[in-house]
Every structure is written in structure tokens, then in C-alpha cells.
Amino acid sequence: MKQFPTSAEVDFVVIGSGAGGGIMAKQLSMAGFSVVVLEQGGWGKYGREQEYNKDEWLNLNLSDDDRLMSDPSRQRNTFRRNDQAKAVPGTHSYGCVVGGGTVTYGSSSWRHLPYEFREASLDPTIPSGTGMADWPITYEELEPYYSQAEWEMGISGLRVNSPFVAPMSKEYPLPPVPLKSSGALLHAAAAKLGLTAVPGPLAILTKPYMGRAACVNCGICSGYGCQVRARSSSAVTMLPLAVNTGRCEIRAKSYVREISADKSGRVTGVIYFDAQKREVRQRAKAVVLSANGSESARLLLLSKSARFPDGLANSSGLVGRYLMTGNGATANALFEHPLNEYKGVISGAAVVDYVPSDAKRGFYGGGRMTARGYQTPLDLGLNGLSPGAPRWGAGYKKALREESNHRMTITCFVTQMPLETNRVDLDPDVKDDWGLPAMRITSTSHPDDIKNMEFFRKKSIEILEAAGAKKVWAPPVSDTRGGAHNRGTCRMGNDPKTSVVDKYHRAHDVPNLFIVDGSVLVTGGRNHPTMTIQALAFRAAEHIAQAAKKGTLRTSP
């Protein structure tokens, strides 16, 4: 791998190597630019993916070098429901390894639907007083980049003609994953109830593709790295191509604490802590911030200077605001015959009829219902049995025997409206392990969001009953406290007073700073953000490379 001296000015520093950063690194280095990628996490098993194994106990206790997620007691964070409450220690955690969250995610790759870019204008069910706004770009503008992302990353799925699924100009490059028993039951229930069940698009190869093997249905999937490299993560798709250009260096365990700016208001590079917590400066002609929907905003807020006293790129005061952390609803059921859900990918079929909001329901909200059911052995044994099952003794053993492999779960991914009061900022009291102010999350979902979750909980029960379940149970819905799907904290827009970046991801206030990750999302879709982040990244990279070639990186467009 190319190594740049830190004294040299490179063309781009990319902060983060996940869904957004991986694509930016590959596209910019292939376009001829020098790129340093700074990844907060370690290497994981980058380049030795065959060493990921199905050891659940070990995976819960990975070494610091191989861990895959951030650690809320080092990447400390706090949480409160509102400004009056005192923040308490939080459990917010996200992908933190070379490849970011794409290394371990469930791999759902849904596009946003065309109307999701203009919901604020089109949808009369949206209550007043929220931060719902139209995007500065349309689905039609983004559509070619969705296709590009699907083909370059390797997405499996089925193009369907349905008002509940985004239209596609091109097929998926790979057929959908095999139907699981949970999917078969979902299809059967949907047929009975007059609903639409479709295979979910997944960043998981179903045939060999671009030098990688197809999924072998090993089963231990989400939360683990893929040992046959069938999951189309940034680590096995984009980053190796970037490194192969000879113009891209990835530095793992590099935790950026500041994006530096000069008096003219241009960024000049970054300061980061290396693995030994030594401060390193890296100069760059431009910076691409892809640190994720919560950390990108925090880093801007940490990057205060005389010129940017409220944090970098924050003249609007909106950096960190409109946080959407992601809500859901679930219901579980037991069936007479074995489903053996431990074989195959975690998520397959989905019911999509309730994706759009509907005034008849009496509130704004929509979502997707996905069939799942997998329980790892330890999860099942420790606390995965149905309510009321004995915790030990003959009854416990009987329940273990009878319930294992007989369970199906419907997991709903639903809307959460952006609210100005929901945000990421810097905790005034708590510091992280590097001595920096910890991330503070303030979040309470809109009442409609809660009603929507309850709607999906009830619909999930109906579907499971229609599928012939013997026993159904559904935990009460609860408001989010953070998670890997954070979005919205540096929203995109045309007006510098009401948004942080423009439609090409350039910070309104800083001409050579670009933000390319979930933080630019104006609305959250149905809580399946990754494919939209990837499409946006391909589009952003094209425009940034053009600007760099024209020499307008440091000037206004």
C-alpha cells in the first residue's frame, strides 16, 4: 500500500471508510487523486476474511484489533430525552473497523422511493412543526447512481413492478437470496391478506461476482464479518480497488479530533490521534467527511476556531440537528414445524404495502416489514425463549428443544421524522477515552412516530397469525436511544440558512469540505439508509472529481 509522508499535502483526506468513505476513496483515487483514508477503527480481518468464524462466544469478546463495533465505554456517549433532562451514559454504537458498518450490517439495500425525496410537499399527512423538508435533488437525478452502486458493490435482488418499491432502470446484477422458511410464511400470509411480499435487496452475493464467492448460507451473518467475502462491504469491494491504484493509503486506528481551517475559511487538513494516541497532522487540499450520521456532526462541532466559533460549517446552527436514530417494531411467533432460520442470510422477504403513509391511519408514518427469525445459540439459550418459558430445569430444557428453530420474527423498519430538537452535540461534562467531549444524544420521537411503531407492531401480529403461528408475542414499542442508522445531522439543501451542505455535498460555509454519509440525508426514508448513502457517494465523487480537475476545489462552485 502506498504510504504518504505526513509532511506532504495530499489531494484528499477521507475521514471514515464505511458506506460513504469507501466509495469516495475508490472513486477519487481511480480519478487520479492522492487519498489518505483515516479510519477510527482497526483493520479487523481486512484481507484475511477467511479468519472470521462462526464462534459466537469469541465474537462477543473480540480483541481490540479485531473488534468491529465502537465501544461506548471508550467512544463514550451520553443520552437524554430532552434539554431539561440530565444526560446519562449512553449505549450508542456503530461500525468501527476498516469498512465501517458495512462489514457487519444486515445488508439490506433498499432504495428510497421517488416520493421520499419530496414527501414534505407531497404528503398531506405530515404534521406541522417537524423538520420534514424536500431534498434538493430528485429520485430521477439519483437513479443512475443507485444502479451504479448496485452493480459496483454487488447487490442481489429482484426488480419488481410495484408502487411500493422504487422503479429501477436496470436489473440487479445478482438474483435474490433463496427463500427461507420465514420468507415462505410471510409470502403465504401476504397472499391471504392481500398484501405484497417481495424479496429484499441485499449486499450479499448469490453468485460469484467480481472475484468474490457467493454466500454459502452459513447463517451467522449480521454482526459478524463474512469469511467468504460474500457480503459486499466497503472492505472487500471499494477499498481494495482504491489501494490498488497506488494512490490511496488507509490508516487504521486514526481518530480525527479536528478538521483544521485557515483564516480564509478553507480547510487545510486534519489532526488525528494515531494508535498510540500521538497527535498527527495530515495536510490536504480538501477533506471528505464520512464519519457517519452522528460522528461527522460531532467532529464539526469539535473543530472550533476563531473563524468558526460554533464549529466548522455551522453558520446555520444546524450541525448535529434533525438527528434521526432509527425506530422499529417487532413481533415473534412459534410455528409447528422447524424453520431452521439459522441457515442463510438474516433478512430476506419483506411486506411493502405500508411503506407509504396513509391519511386513513390518522398519523404520518410508513415502513417495511421484514421476515427474520435467526437466533444464535447463546442468544436463544440466555434470553431468547418465549415469554413465560422457564429459565432453568426440565421445563427450560423442554422449551429449548421445542422452540429452537421454530421461531419467526417480523422486524419493521419505520419512519422517524427529523425534529430540530433531536440532535448530537458535545457533552459538557463527559469526555471520551481521548479526552475529547463525548457525544451527547438528545432524542424524543414525534408522537406520530410512536403511533406508527404501534401500527407496525399490530400489523406484524396480524401477519404472523395469518401465517398460522401457534403462539405470538410482541414487545411493547419503545423510543430509540441511538444506534447504527443515525442520519440527518448535516442536512443537504439549497439554502445555507436551513442546511449544512449543498446538493453536491459541499459545505455551504467551506468550499473544500465535503460531507458524504448518512448525516446529509434530509429525511430518513424507512430506516434503510445504506443504499442511498452509497448512491449519493457515487454521485458526489463524480462532482468532486470534476471540481478538482477544474481547479475549483477551494473556491465556490
Binding site: 462477543l60 469478546n61 465501544d71 415462505a184 431452521n340 439459550g381 434470553n383 428443544r401 428453530n405
Partner: protein
């Protein structure tokens, strides 16, 4: 393991898996050390040697594990060698739980003698008496600790010292092959016949 480190692990475990158990916190190097213990011990003979418990203590804990996952028409925690998993854990990654076990064994003895003054040892009770005794302490941290360790020993990969001959996985019908082919279960195999 320092308190700070333990709390780190707890955070991680809770947030990543939703498993709500402080005591399943461990660390990677400790787990590898435990594996090595298991490998060496089982090379030497049929049953592994005890590393932490005395033989008498192991008998008490084993009797507890055998009530948590009893042996009926199929093998249980005893046959899966959960007590050996726990023994390795306490001498490696779960060293921090040693005092809890020592104190817990004392409580078990006290409880046993209160209920059955003539018995002396928990492991000497009849099965019904053992169930009665454990029902009295089933809400205690010690019981929950042993329960958690028993379940992990029963269902984690055999390299960690329990789940002997994949007894635990056999009970839950888990096949750890790397490669599976559809149909996976009853309903996808029968999909043509579904309603």
C-alpha cells in the same frame, strides 16, 4: 480484568447483542487461554483436569448445572461438561467471578443445611430436594451467574470446554456446518403447498 475494562465489555455486549448480562463479559485473550487449557487437558486423558475448583466444589457446581439443564432422555449440562467450561472460565477470562463462586458455594451450603440438616452437601440431595433448594435461591446473583455460565458452556463452541460432543447443539437442532443449501426448513420446502 480491571473494573473499567469489565464495564467496557458489558457495554459492548449489551449494545451489540442485546444480551443483558454483565457476567458474560470476558476478554479475547482470556478466552484463547481457556481454549488452550482445554486442549492440553483433554490431551492428557479422558476428562480434563480441574484448574480452579476442588473436586468437592466441582461436584456441587456440577450438580447445580445438572439441575439447570437436566439429563432426561437426552444428555444435559453434566454430559456437556459445563462444569469444566466454568472451571476454565474462572481460571482465565472470568477470574473476576471467583469470589462470587466461593461466596455462592457457601450460601448453597447454608441453604442446603437449613432445608435438609442431615444431608451435608447439595450434591448428595435427591433430585427433588435439589430442585427445592435451587428454587429458594433462583433469584440470587449467584444462581443467575451459574445459570448464565451453564448456558454458555452448553451452547458455545466445544473448543471453549463445554458443549462436549456438540450435545448442546444437538438439543437445539443446530448444525454448525459452514455451508447450507436450501430448502432450509419445513416451510420453504413446502412453499408450493402453503395457504
Amino acid at each position: 480484568m480491571s473494573t473499567k475494562r469489565r464495564s467496557r465489555r458489558r457495554f459492548l455486549v449489551d449494545s451489540v447483542t442485546g444480551l443483558n448480562a454483565a457476567w458474560i463479559a470476558a476478554n479475547y485473550h482470556g478466552i484463547l487461554a481457556a481454549q488452550e487449557h482445554v486442549r492440553q487437558a483433554t490431551q492428557a486423558g479422558n476428562l480434563p483436569q480441574l484448574a480452579f475448583f476442588t473436586v468437592a466444589q466441582a461436584a456441587e457446581i456440577e450438580a447445580m448445572t445438572a439441575q439447570i439443564i437436566p439429563t432426561d432422555e437426552s444428555p444435559g449440562a453434566r454430559e456437556a461438561r459445563c462444569v469444566y467450561f466454568i472451571d476454565r472460565a474462572l481460571s482465565t477470562f472470568a477470574r473476576g467471578s471467583q469470589p462470587a463462586y466461593i461466596q455462592g458455594l457457601r450460601e448453597l451450603e447454608t441453604q442446603t443445611q437449613q432445608l435438609y440438616p442431615d444431608a451435608g452437601k447439595f450434591s448428595a440431595l435427591t433430585s427433588a430436594q435439589q430442585v427445592e433448594t435451587l428454587t429458594r435461591i433462583e433469584k440470587t446473583p449467584f444462581f443467575n451467574l451459574v445459570r448464565t455460565h451453564t448456558v454458555i458452556g452448553f451452547l458455545a463452541r466445544p473448543v471453549h470446554g463445554g458443549n462436549y460432543n456438540k450435545i448442546g447443539w444437538e438439543l437445539i437442532g443446530y448444525d454448525d456446518s459452514l455451508n447450507h443449501k436450501p430448502p432450509f426448513g419445513y416451510y420453504d420446502a413446502q412453499k408450493e403447498n402453503l395457504p
